[in-house]
Symmetry: C2
Subunit: 509 residues, 2 copies
């Protein structure tokens, strides 16, 4: 008889046993665990009074803030399902998600008010922060959270770009998110003295999944909504930040900021980064400026975050393993498989498979895609890589043909589909090329119909109307010869990409 797992337990535990710890710092707002927890209880009661309950889908569209985290306890605490919206999506993409997930309630902040107006007709109810939101809290009692009926109930549906079509909703259970949280806590030794700076957007599952455990351990979360390097440095010094999770572009901005030399960052013990590779030069420089451990995380929404970590990157710079995505966390396993499903040998390239305590339950309403992704107890990631003798994982390509730019995942196929709608376009290939600021940037090669003469700026403008800005190519090259093809007629994107990545030691195309 083992007790069922409920993601709201961490909060109840913290409220009972260390109510006076500082839970949240967000601008001028400072909340103890008790204050934060009571807001969650009231908010959850308030949402329930608006009809939110078991199986209701509630979308959130907010910048990072304590309210964001409150919602991510209050909604699952009501037994309901959270559907976070990436605020960088185009309205059409948000509309698709609201319809696909059957969202009935939307919580939105001031920064996203223009979206709210467009999305309002699709839902039964919009709760606007701060006004409606605070009114709901003020009008409600801090009632006990009903929580899920089983540990296998979903906490949320987290949308991720599709390889062959629109975004897919990844369903993750209470047990899965607790599994991910616990493993991170063990691996990174989070404890009550930690003060985590939250910069990475919380609508990314990896970001929110990583902070649940900190509430549990009694750590403090410091929110910083905008990515302003000078302000981040000031906060690290003022709030005695011990750990943060940021993308390499932000690391780069921090270490090159004029204030970096004079800021006291001695409280830092860990800089976690993921979503994009980091160059040896930047890693070395960051270790020097921050004087702390750098750790890379590799993962995906389907496994509730990062199943592998490359710890102490700064000590591996001259080793082969510095180019790897690390080793799995406790409780996770990684394998590499051939096309026939058999395991690859050491250093043999194949499809990366993963398993562990935090795997997706399913893709929402997509039984076929679920059956393809979950086979033999493993999640088949679509990423391509190999493992060395010590079990370090090296990624060489992404079967999903994904570009990671400024911390966001862009699926080439989606961009290609958008460009292909342009009447002048005969063929198109989209891929990532190296970029100092963004890690990778989206690049397109277009072959026009005979006689057509589309320009770079026309193609970019065309895309911008259809897909999110960060998905829109930053550069477009028009070629007149046909794209290179494989024997079966598939565009050899690897050949197109190779010249741009020559001499680079990571994610060689």
């Amino acid at each position: 008889m083992t007790v069922e797992q409920d993601l709201t337990w961490p909060l109840r535990h913290a409220m009972r046993y260390f109510p006076d710890s500082e839970a949240v710092v967000d601008g001028d707002t400072r909340l103890t665990v008790r204050e934060f927890g009571e807001r969650v209880l009231r908010l959850s009661a308030g949402l329930r009074s608006l009809g939110v309950g078991p199986n209701t889908r509630v979308a959130t569209l907010l910048a990072n803030s304590h309210r964001y985290l409150e919602l991510h306890y209050a909604i699952p605490g009501a037994g309901a399902i959270v559907v976070p919206l990436n605020s960088r999506l185009a309205v059409a993409e948000m509309e698709y998600i609201l319809a696909d997930a059957g969202v009935t309630h939307l919580v939105v902040d001031e920064a996203h008010a223009p979206f709210a107006e467009k999305l309002e007709p699709l839902v039964q109810r919009v709760v606007r922060a701060p006004d409606d939101y605070e009114a709901l809290i003020a009008a409600s009692e801090p009632e006990e959270l009903p929580g899920p009926s089983s540990e296998n109930d979903p906490v949320g549906i987290y949308y991720t770009g599709g390889t062959t079509g629109p975004a897919k909703g990844v369903v993750l259970s209470h047990r899965a998110l607790i599994g991910e949280s616990i493993a991170l806590g063990l691996e990174l030794n989070f404890n009550r003295d930690d003060r985590l700076l939250v910069v990475f957007p919380l609508f990314h599952l990896g970001a929110i999944a990583g902070i649940y455990v900190l509430v549990w351990m009694g750590s403090t979360l410091v929110f910083q909504p905008a990515v302003d390097p000078g302000e981040i440095l000031r906060i690290i010094e003022r709030e005695r930040i011990t750990a943060t999770s940021i993308v390499p572009t932000v690391i780069n901005a921090l270490v090159n900021h004029p204030a970096a030399e004079t800021t006291d960052v001695s409280s830092l013990r860990l800089v976690l980064h993921g979503a994009a590779p980091i160059s040896a030069t930047l890693c070395e420089r960051a270790a020097q400026v921050f004087g702390c451990v750098l750790t890379q995380a590799y993962g995906m929404t389907e496994v509730a975050g990062a199943p592998t970590l490359l710890k102490d990157e700064q000590d591996l710079l001259d080793q082969r393993q510095s180019r790897s995505a690390g080793q799995p966390m406790v409780g996770y396993e990684i394998g590499v498989r051939r096309d026939d499903g058999s395991p690859c040998d050491v250093d043999e390239i194949g499809e990366v498979v993963l398993r562990g305590p935090s795997m997706l339950t399913e893709y929402w309403n997509k039984p076929e895609e679920t059956a393809r992704a979950l086979r033999d107890g493993w999640y088949w990631s679509g990423d391509v890589g190999y493992q060395d003798e010590a079990g370090y994982l090296y990624l060489v390509d992404r079967a999903k043909d994904m570009i990671v730019t400024g911390g966001e995942n862009v699926y080439s196929i989606e961009v290609e589909n958008a460009i292909a709608e342009h009447p002048d376009v005969l063929e198109v290939a989209v891929f990532g090329i190296p970029d100092e600021t963004w890690g990778e940037r989206v690049h397109a090669i277009v072959v026009p119909h005979d006689g057509a003469t589309p320009t770079e700026s026309e193609i970019i403008a065309f895309c911008r109307q259809r897909i999110a800005g960060y998905k829109t190519p930053k550069s477009v090259e028009v070629r007149l010869e046909p794209l290179p093809k494989s024997g079966v007629g598939k565009t050899l994107k690897r050949d197109l990409r190779a010249p741009y990545w020559k001499g680079r030691d990571r994610f060689i195309g």
Copy 2:
């Protein structure tokens, strides 16, 4: 779809990802994770060749050693169930356990050879360490562990003294032991740099449950079979021990040892103790000698170890909470209940109830006792206590009438039953009284039949034939007047005990 939990995973993880870490130090034997793991795989295969498989019960009777730990992976790894025997039990008690659990295989070391001869007729097969044991390893291949068929399969049946009769077998699942391990790892921040000195006997569930996580994290386990203070100090210095779990009697012996002042114990970061209270004086002195954190654990076999911890005891000496058993670990909850099952108020005394990820599945073949212990999703401990406003738990008595002496639990009823068989005895009461060396010692008050004149030494000798030496009273008082009784005729043991505990601030009777 969350992956099932299997306690052998930690070992497979360690073998794959840090095979060259030092796993075990045991006298002159030093084993890397790979060497240790391969021994486990071979041993498990060897045991399977002797008929050990799903649902087989295998008893272990060994002193602390790397072999002890190997067995506790190899047996569950074969899908079988381990039944650890407390080596201090009397032969009759061991016989009872073998029969009750239906044990077919017994593994025994040289130190326990005399027991083996007596127990051999009860089982199908005895494996003697080191000879049979090492032969089995040498003759077997390091095959993959089949493991359990489900996370709810038992790892073991752990016998614990009964309140009203013979010992009961506590059945704990793979998921439960993983739950306990993970919580301990999170709370105590165990990591790859840790080197744990294992002194506490591993046949205690709390001891073995606490070390699984260290294998997982890549820490090193240093075994020390005999409790020799001088040798323990030498090992701490030589092996750069970072953490250990010991009983207060051993802490006392260490801090008062002449070599304590000159031994380098600066590597220590944590001394964990449980099983018995520690005096403020000893705590203060230990913190000074060891220069590290002292943490107390409170728990029971039924919850797979210690659900509560009193952390940083040395900083609480002048506070009320220093007399508490601490707060629950992450994922655990504690409550105090009235006789009618309703929750007690703050500071109101009642029965301690617990729940969390590591609760017993059942008492082996005891559905009635199981139903009594597991109610409303809680484990009803039988211990009596109260909680303060901050959720610290204070124990005031044990409903099970238990004495903790030198780290062993003794149930008074069992000793009373043994003494009551003596023909001269009319009435008997057994309870614990304070003891400098043992924390508590077993004390008996005996009222003889009219005209009978039993002596202290007669009663002690009589007990020694029937129950384990540590359960036998260290002192017996013969009284001629009847024992004090409650209105319903129950002996008022609390009144008998009170004079001995006067002025003591812990576990007041």
